[in-house]
Amino acid sequence: MPPRISFAIAALVLASLAPPARAQDFSTADTQSFLKDLQQRVSKLEGAPVKAALSSFNPAIGMAFDAVFHDSNDKASFQFRAAELSIEAPCDPYLKGWAVINGSNSGVEVEEAALETTSLPYNLTARGGRLFAAFGRLAHFHDHELPVVKRPLSLDSYIGNETQADGLEVSWLAPAGFYLNATFGAYNKMGATNARQDNLDARALDEFTYLGRLNAYADLTDSQSIDLGVDSAWSPKRAVTDAAGAVTTRRNTWRTLNGLDFIYRYQPPQGGLYRGLSWGAEVLQNDERRFDASTKLPTDRVRSYAGYSFVEAKFSRRWRGGAMVDLTEDQDDSHRLTKTFTGFLTCEVTEFQRLRLAFAESVVNVPSIPKNHTVALQWTGIIGKHVHGFRDR
């Protein structure tokens, strides 16, 4: 037997012969001291104030950058379109608030600043403040969230950029086995650049804009679905003042903007990272009494139509491409039609960075007006807060 092993065996025998009571006493005292120490440390931790600064309650903050190189009929420019700051947080258990502040070449503007309830009964949700009214499919998307570089002319001219509105909206989710949502809204006016009403003036109740929208959805198969929407924005009266401040007329000045939209999606659950297709369309009908821009005098009542349709296909994890057609009748002269054809190719570098190349041709059915060709390269990046909203899905 090697001497090292003999030594180990001897040590073990001696250890086993040692008085057990003393060993136990030492061990118990040691353990008790250890436990007491642990107990003191845990008590300190439990009793300690939560390590949090007042800034812990700060809202989630994000910013979207959107820049475009734009060439239209050989006249080019770099366009700083948006540095869009968005902040959002719950106010309390029943309310959340958000704001979107956009800086661009045209200045700094509060695009949205709204509150929304989170716990109303009967499937109701109320939101109020400055918000993007729930009209149509793409009209309430921020510019950088659109599938194309430039907002379709139909939306731009009939709504006035995004559906920005100061007012109140209530949505109701039908308690059914399928998705059906109804929204009712009342606003000063709808459309960021809609100049029919002054947003700041006080007005009679019949000079507000009232909205109703129904939105339904159905899964056609596991990979195919359809979204349908129908809406109407109604402004009962419009007061137009001339240079001297006199009201021209309020008679027969009601305006309705009706819309119908759908989007079909093919999104295979298997391979959805790489494949997919969306086909969407929206038709708008504007019915209003027009006013001469220079004299402020009333002219005829005009009913005009506009709309767009687009297809977007996902080719791979990064690449998407598609086309859009937009047809817009002039709101003063419904025989004057502008057709815009757009092709676009998008590279999603990551989830937070996107490059998009677009080519658009615009034709007006008036012989003296030349065709307009536009090439645009868009670069979009997002920092900070990252949320996937249901409405802008």
């Binding site: 989170t118 109303l120 499937n123 086995g177 399928f178 298997q270 990272l273 996937h388």
Partner: protein, 310 residues
């Protein structure tokens, strides 16, 4: 008058009984969570699932048809650690259910929220948060559903959550939990022996979602096809990965089912490593409908690829 009172009493008693008999409406985000919730809840729960199972877990589509399910739900069971951030908070925002509210940090806030990650020993917690590190999860790696041992934690959290929402039937949930854990323990004992040959095997995965699988199997993951989490592979990164795999003698490439086979197969050709396809959610692959089947299938796939299947 007396007959009216008796009738009213009978009606209210009948209503109360009907309410007590009504099963809980439970929505699970992922199929394997739905499976465990159905085992723990038994006939006391009616389960709906949000994801099909074959999607990328980070990109489950926010279908409006899921909104009425969440609107009616008494509870929602979710994996947590922000893994469902692309669809769960957005759906809860419009579901108009005061017991299940959208929450930017926890995904869900309210009495019906059952977060299966509570008490988890979280791996790969980021030391700092920056998007320059890719699409990292602020709370740590959320893919603990790939560790078969974490099935017990998930089941316990579901039992605790259901008992909180429906305390009258807590004893039933506890009994069902015990029965499920016995079955899972038997499987775990078997699996621990079967995965012994995987210990120390060097591997790469497509996405950084295998930390918990590595903890159970002992596989040593040395890289990913994605240069950073959520960032699509680039040629330069793949070339470096080939060099790394050759240098470290990496034998295994783990492809999560949702990723296309093209690049892993190219990598296999370049390095001689074998490709194993795993499910990151239940129902992602055939015979992965339950948590136990998914775990078993994943382990078999890893063993098969290395030619170590029994």
């Amino acid at each position: 008058m007396r007959s009216n009172s008796v009738l009213a009493l009978c009606l209210s008693a009948a209503c109360a009984r009907a309410a007590a008999a009504r099963p809980l409406n439970v929505v699970a985000t992922l199929p394997e969570l739905a499976d465990i919730a159905s085992r723990v809840g038994g006939d006391r729960v009616k389960i709906d699932t949000l994801a099909h199972g074959s999607e990328d877990i980070h990109q489950v589509v926010m279908r409006p048809s899921l909104v009425p399910k969440l609107n009616r739900a008494d509870a929602v069971v979710y994996l947590g650690l922000t893994v469902e951030h692309t669809f769960l908070p957005g759906l809860l925002n419009v579901a108009a259910n005061p017991n299940l509210r959208e929450d930017a940090v926890k995904q869900c806030a309210g009495s019906g929220c059952i977060d299966c990650s509570e008490g988890l020993s979280v791996l790969e917690k980021p030391s700092s948060l920056s998007r320059s590190e890719g699409e990292i999860h602020p709370s740590g790696n959320p893919h603990y559903n790939l560790d078969p041992e974490d099935g017990a934690l998930i089941a316990r959290n579901i039992a605790a959550g259901l008992s909180r929402v429906d305390p009258e039937h807590a004893a039933d949930y506890k009994k069902n939990l015990t029965s499920y854990l016995v079955e899972l323990d038997e499987k775990l004992a078997l699996w621990r022996k079967r995965v012994a040959p995987l210990k120390g095997v060097k591997a790469v995965s497509y996405h950084q979602d295998v930390a918990y699988l590595a903890r159970f199997t002992g596989i040593e993951f040395v890289g990913t096809l994605e240069p950073k989490p959520g960032v699509a592979p680039t040629p330069a990164h793949l070339e470096k990965l080939v060099q790394l795999m050759k240098r470290d003698q990496v034998m295994l490439i783990v492809r999560e089912q949702q990723y296309a086979p093209k690049l892993p197969e190219w990598l296999a050709q370049k390095t001689g490593a074998k490709v194993a396809v795993i499910a990151t959610m239940g129902k992602a692959l055939p015979a992965t409908e339950t948590f136990i089947k998914m775990s078993e299938r994943n382990l078999e796939s890893l063993l098969d690829a290395l030619g170590k299947a029994p």
